[in-house]
Symmetry: C2
Subunit: 275 residues, 2 copies
């Protein structure tokens, strides 16, 4: 593995640029803490394995060390890592022994979510584009993100915080840059991502830590019909944390409204546990 930085040249024959042949992670540093680092590195390893890239646990450890050093140096920030198969290979075919390249960038810390927005809950709208079903890539944070780009470009109204993404079969999958949970019955359930979607690190953490948090969680298939059964809803990612949703507008004009109290409480609880 080669670690590279913004000052290093990107070559035009880099496979990330030509084919989206790689993975990425967007890692939040709060002061110097990176509570989800283990999850980011595990997802990177898992993705690399699925793509057949030579990036194993030792590489992940080395990268993790470098990320921690940068966190100590820069404090609150976003560290983005783009893991690519490097250059080379003939066309789509890659070199078997290609040495992966990780480009590491440090960005300023984003402004925190406004407390009033978290308190009121945000608006979502259903996107018209449907996510395709590809079990070989589902869950990975790979660089083939045109579906998300098209989805995110469907609206320009800043009052809409996120888009709800269904798959081509009509199942609910995620938001354009966040996972989604619904409070149905006594559990916070989130869609199964075996066929589409990105398996977010905060989603994984919530599923792992639910007992400690005192909530019940679950992974299931969810259709639009289930929206009517949901008492609460939130979207989540590593940068924004848990963001309560107060309403989802569907393309047919239907609107689903949710209570935000429980999601708001969980959002605060997670923030206090994590940082």
């Amino acid at each position: 593995m080669k670690i590279l930085y913004e000052s290093d040249d990107v070559k035009l024959n880099n496979r990330a640029l030509n084919y989206g042949d790689g993975l990425f992670e967007t890692i939040l540093v709060k002061e110097t803490k990176i509570p989800l680092l283990k999850y980011h590195l595990a997802r990177l390893c898992n993705g690399a394995k699925k793509l057949g890239m030579n990036f194993g646990k030792n590489d992940a450890s080395e990268l993790g060390l470098r990320i921690s050093e940068l966190a100590n140096e820069h404090g609150s920030s976003i560290i983005k890592c783009i893991l690519t198969r490097g250059a080379g290979g003939r066309g789509y075919r890659s070199l078997v022994d290609a040495e992966p390249e990780v480009y590491v960038q440090v960005f300023p810390s984003p402004s925190s979510m406004k407390v009033s927005l978290l308190r009121e809950g945000v608006l979502l709208r259903e996107c018209l584009i449907r996510l395709s079903c590809q079990p070989a890539l589902a869950g990975l944070k790979h660089l083939n993100r045109l579906e998300n780009v098209l989805a995110r470009n469907e609206w320009h109204d800043d009052d809409v915080f996120e888009g709800l993404l269904l798959d081509t079969g009509g199942l609910i999958i995620e938001a354009t840059q966040a996972n989604i949970f619904f409070n149905i019955g006594s559990r916070w359930v989130t869609p199964d991502l075996s066929f589409s979607g990105v398996s977010g690190v905060l989603r994984g953490w919530l599923l792992d830590k639910s007992q400690e948090l005192g909530v019940k969680t679950g992974v299931t298939t969810l259709s639009v019909d289930d929206l009517g059964k949901a008492r609460g809803c939130f979207v989540c990612n590593s940068v924004n944390g848990i963001v309560p949703v107060r309403s989802i507008s569907m393309s047919n004009g239907n609107e689903y409204k949710f209570q935000v109290d429980e999601a708001y409480a969980l959002s605060n609880q997670v923030r206090s546990v994590m940082y």
Copy 2:
């Protein structure tokens, strides 16, 4: 539109590198002729429109002119154009007025297909990965090519020329870097690409010119069951032209064999008409 070259810097925040947010064309120059240039530019325009990029007919004309100049300068070669939305935007969301960047590279001419290989026909094998169905991106030569990369990395045996790609519904779509035609009944038919696959420029040319070539062609849905009905088969792309297929090995051990005479004759005819 900004035209850039290999000597220009690629920035790490280029959207092609981060999201595969763009399109590409691989254009064969034979001596100084570029017989499929019109098709390449039309596909680029169509793709840009579907992705919401600011690249219209005037840009295509300007790019076409530049490509012709390079063809005159370099002679037989491959000219690769990567059209990207440039940098910028917040996350997946792109800037509405982003000026697209086209990176233009000139590569040496590839060695021609061996006549003996064309005469005998090549071997194909079924790939295990299935193409996902995404009507918003189907047909486009976009930069999200992980499915093709995974497919092409499934085999390392150089005797296998190409992989046969089915979609998640089991329909035949294409090869990893070529389209496919089958001689069924009295027609050369090629799979419908409304849901998956890349709409190749030579495929388009063949469908347009079939009358002049004295063959019947058609676009249809094709399943594995149809393989047994096919007398002949070829794969085609702008670089290799028409390549007759003598056999396809399926993952269940079945093998479909084809006559190559008609495909070979068509391959020669197309080459003589085109260059």
